[in-house]
C-alpha cells in the first residue's frame, strides 16, 4: 500500500496576481483554523468540553483557499471535519466556540455541536455528520440560485471517503446535466478513517471521477494555498458564468487521527513526519518571507491577533449559559404534540 508522497505533488507557492490584503486574509484564516482546533484539542484534554470532534490539522489550505474565493452570499456545505470550512467562511469564532461548549449562545444554540456547525447568515448551510450528505444539498442550493436567477455559487467540501457514496454520483450527474453553479471539492486527506484511497477506490486519481458525468476536474497540491485559491477561482468563475460544475481534488494530509484522541496506528510515523514538513501554514510563511510579499512583523501581528481572538472566544463561550434540559423544545415543531405525553 502506498500513500501519496509529498515530493510528487508539491508545487511552489505562486503569489502572482494576489495583493497583500488577500494574502493576509489567507494567512489569517489558516491560522485561525489551526489555532481554533489546537485549542479545542487542549480544551478536550483539560476541561469538560462535551462530545467529540474531528480535526483538520494540516488541511487548512483547502478550506481557506477555496472559501476565500467566494462571496458572502455564496453557499457552502461541509462535513464532519468542518471547523475550518466555517472559519474560512467567516463564521464568528466566539459563536463556534460557544457551540463546542454546548452553550446557549452557540451558533446553533448548543443543539448541533461540532458536526453540525452552520451559520445561514454567512451562507454556511451546514456541516453534515453523514458522509456525502452535503453534496446533493449544495447542488440543490445551486439549483435554487439558478431558478431564482441570482449569481450565487455553491461549494461542497467533502473528503476522499465521500466519493464512494451514491449521492456523489447522483449529484454530479444532475449538476452537469443542468449546468448548475456548483464546485465540488474533494479534500483528499488520504484516509477515510483507517482506509487509504487505494484500498477503497477503484481509481486513485480522484478528479477523473467527473469524466463519467462530463465534469472537468483538476488535482492540485492541497497544502499550497495559492494553488488551491487559483484553481478554485477558475472553477468558481466558470460556475458563475453558467458553464456548470467542476470537480476539484486538493491533495493534503490528515495530521491527526480520525477523531478526538484516535491515535491513527494504521499508519507509520515516518509518513506522518514526512508530511509534517509540508505543513501548509509553514510553507506559506516561508514562501511569503522568501519572496518578501509579507514581512515577519506582518505575519506575527496576525498570529497575535488570532491568539487574542481565540482567547476572547473561549472567554465568551465559558461565560455563556449551559444548554438547559428543556431547550430542545423550542426546535421541535410547534404542532408536534408527541413530546407532550408526559412519559419519558
Amino acid at each position: 500500500m502506498t500513500i501519496r508522497k509529498p515530493e510528487d505533488l508539491v508545487t511552489p507557492l505562486d503569489f502572482s496576481g494576489m495583493d497583500q490584503e488577500l494574502l493576509k486574509t489567507l494567512f489569517l484564516r489558516m491560522v485561525r483554523a489551526r489555532e481554533f482546533e489546537e485549542q479545542l484539542y487542549y480544551l478536550f484534554l483539560t476541561t469538560k468540553m462535551p462530545g467529540t470532534m474531528h480535526q483538520a490539522t494540516g488541511q487548512e489550505a483547502v478550506a481557506v483557499g477555496v472559501a476565500s474565493v467566494l462571496n458572502k452570499d455564496d453557499y457552502v456545505t461541509s462535513n464532519h471535519r468542518g471547523h475550518g470550512h466555517c472559519i474560512a467562511k467567516d463564521v464568528p469564532l466566539d459563536l463556534m466556540m460557544a457551540e463546542m461548549f454546548a452553550k446557549r449562545n452557540g451558533v446553533c444554540k448548543g443543539m448541533g455541536g461540532s458536526m453540525h456547525l452552520c451559520d445561514f447568515s454567512k451562507g454556511m448551510l451546514g456541516a453534515f455528520g453523514i458522509v456525502g450528505a452535503g453534496i446533493p444539498i449544495a447542488s440543490g442550493a445551486a439549483l435554487s440560485a439558478k431558478v431564482r436567477g441570482t449569481q450565487q455559487v455553491a461549494v461542497s467540501f467533502f473528503g476522499d471517503g465521500a466519493i464512494n457514496e451514491g449521492v456523489f454520483h447522483e449529484s454530479l450527474n444532475m449538476a452537469s446535466l443542468w449546468k448548475l453553479p456548483v464546485v465540488y471539492v474533494i479534500e483528499n486527506n488520504q484516509y477515510a478513517l483507517s482506509m487509504p484511497n487505494e484500498l477503497v477506490s477503484a481509481v486513485t486519481d480522484l478528479s477523473t471521477r467527473g469524466c463519467g458525468y462530463n465534469i472537468p476536474g483538476e488535482t492540485v497540491d492541497g497544502n499550497n494555498v495559492t494553488a488551491v485559491y487559483k484553481a478554485a477561482s477558475r472553477a468558481v468563475e466558470r460556475a458563475r458564468k453558467g458553464e456548470g460544475p467542476f470537480l476539484l481534488e486538493c491533495i493534503t494530509y490528515r495530521m491527526r487521527g480520525h477523531a478526538r484522541f484516535e491515535p491513527a496506528e494504521y499508519r507509520n510515523k515516518e509518513e506522518v513526519e514526512l508530511w509534517s514538513q509540508y505543513d501548509p501554514i509553514k510553507r506559506f510563511k516561508e514562501a511569503a518571507l522568501e519572496t518578501g510579499v509579507l514581512t515577519e512583523a506582518g505575519l506575527s501581528a496576525i498570529e497575535e491577533q488570532v491568539e487574542h481572538e481565540i482567547e476572547a472566544a473561549i472567554a465568551f463561550a465559558q461565560a455563556g449559559e449551559d444548554v438547559g434540559a428543556e431547550d430542545y423544545k423550542q426546535f421541535i415543531y410547534e404542532l408536534d404534540n408527541t413530546t407532550k405525553d408526559g412519559l419519558k
Partner: protein, 341 residues
C-alpha cells in the same frame, strides 16, 4: 359544487400554489414529459416550464437532497416519489437531513418542502405496494398527512406547501381515480363506492393536526386512514342495518396527531377499532393503541382491535394480496369482536 378526483384535487392545489408563489417548484421522476406516473402532474410542465417542473433522473437520494438544498435557500420544492417504496433510496436525506436540520441548526434552518408518494397494494407485488407511514411517523421532524378524499387532499396539500417544515403526503393509488402508469383505465377498488367529492375551486387550507369525523356514531370508534376510511365507512353503512352505530374518524395527519378528537370519541363509544394498511408490527395500529391505552384506558370496555396488514411483504398473487391487506370483512369482524367483549 364540482366533483374532482383525488389526483385532480392534488394537481389543482399544486397549480394554484405555483401560480401564487414563484418559489414553489416540482421535482421528481417523469413528472413533466410523462405527466407523472399517476397523472397527478398532468399539464404542469406545459404551464410552468422546465425551471419550475423538473424531470429528474432516477436518483431519489440525489433529488431529495437537492430539494433540501433548494428549500434551505429560498424555494419551496414539492418532491414526488414515483412510488412510496422508492423513498427508501432517499432515507438518509429524509431522516438525517430534512427532519433534523431545524434542531441541528438551532432554529436557523427551516426546510419548507413537501414530499408526495403513492402507496398501497394494487397488484404490483412487494416493491411497489408498501404502506410506509410507520417509518416516517417514527421520525421526529416530519409532518405526515394522509388524505382519504379529494377535499382533504387539496386542503392538506395547500397547507403542506405553505408549511415551513417538511411534510410528507402519502396518497393511496386506489383513491386517485386517475389512470394507471400504463395509461389504461383508472385503478379502482370494487369494494368501495365512488370517492369523488365536492372540491371548492378556490384555494383553501386544512390545518395539519385536525382529524375529521367522517361518520358520527355511538357504539364503536373506527380510526382509519386512506383507503381504510372508505372500507370503514362501508362497514358502518352495513352495520347500521344491524343496529350497530359506528363512528369513523380519519386523523388526516398522523403527525401531528389530533389526539383530542380521537379520545373524545373513545370516551363516548368505549370501543375502538383501528384500520390501517401498514403492517401490524410497530405500525399505526400499535401506536394509536398505545396512545389510547395511556390516555383513555379507564374508558375502554374492550381491548382495542387493530386491523393491519400481516407482517409479510405484499405477495403478488391476487388471492394472497387480498389476504395480507385488510379488507371490509376484516374490519367488520373487528367491530363484532370489540362489541362482544
Amino acid at each position: 359544487m364540482r366533483q374532482l378526483s383525488l389526483a385532480d384535487a392534488i394537481r389543482e392545489a399544486m397549480i394554484q400554489e405555483m401560480r401564487r408563489d414563484s418559489s414553489v417548484i416540482l421535482m421528481g421522476e417523469d413528472v413533466g414529459r410523462f405527466n407523472g406516473a399517476f397523472h397527478v402532474s398532468h399539464g404542469m410542465l406545459d404551464e410552468f416550464g422546465p425551471t419550475r417542473v423538473w424531470d429528474t433522473p432516477i436518483s431519489e437520494a440525489g433529488f431529495m437532497g437537492m430539494g433540501i438544498g433548494a428549500a434551505l435557500t429560498g424555494l419551496r420544492p414539492i418532491i414526488e416519489f414515483q412510488y412510496a417504496d422508492f423513498m427508501f433510496c432517499a432515507m438518509d436525506q429524509i431522516v438525517n437531513e430534512a427532519a433534523k436540520l431545524r434542531l441541528m441548526s438551532g432554529g436557523q434552518a427551516s426546510v419548507p418542502l413537501v414530499m408526495r408518494a403513492p402507496q398501497g397494494a394494487t397488484g404490483r407485488a412487494a416493491q411497489h405496494s408498501q404502506s410506509v407511514e410507520a417509518y416516517f411517523m417514527h421520525t421526529p421532524g416530519l409532518y405526515l398527512a394522509m388524505p382519504s378524499t379529494p377535499y382533504d387532499a387539496k386542503g392538506l396539500m395547500i397547507s403542506a406547501i405553505r408549511s415551513n417544515d417538511p411534510v410528507l403526503i402519502l396518497e393511496h393509488k386506489l383513491l386517485y381515480g386517475a389512470a394507471s402508469p400504463g395509461g389504461g383505465k383508472a385503478l379502482t377498488d370494487q369494494t368501495i363506492s365512488d370517492i369523488g367529492s365536492d372540491v371548492p375551486e378556490e384555494a383553501y387550507t386544512i390545518p395539519l393536526g385536525k382529524a375529521d369525523v367522517k361518520r358520527a356514531g355511538t357504539d364503536v370508534t373506527i380510526i382509519a386512514t386512506l383507503i381504510m376510511v372508505h372500507r370503514a365507512l362501508a362497514v358502518a353503512a352495513e352495520l347500521e342495518k344491524e343496529g350497530i352505530s359506528c363512528e369513523v374518524i380519519d386523523p388526516r395527519t398522523l403527525v401531528p396527531l389530533d389526539e383530542e378528537t380521537i379520545l373524545e370519541s373513545v370516551k363516548k363509544t368505549n370501543r375502538v377499532v383501528i384500520a390501517s394498511e401498514d403492517v401490524a408490527r410497530g405500525g399505526v395500529g400499535s401506536e394509536l393503541t398505545a396512545m389510547i391505552a395511556r390516555k383513555a384506558f379507564d374508558h375502554l370496555d374492550a381491548p382495542v382491535a387493530c386491523v393491519s396488514a400481516d407482517n409479510s411483504p405484499i405477495p403478488f398473487g391476487p388471492a394472497a394480496e387480498l389476504r395480507v391487506v385488510p379488507q371490509i370483512s376484516d374490519i367488520r369482524q373487528a367491530v363484532y369482536q370489540v362489541l362482544k367483549d
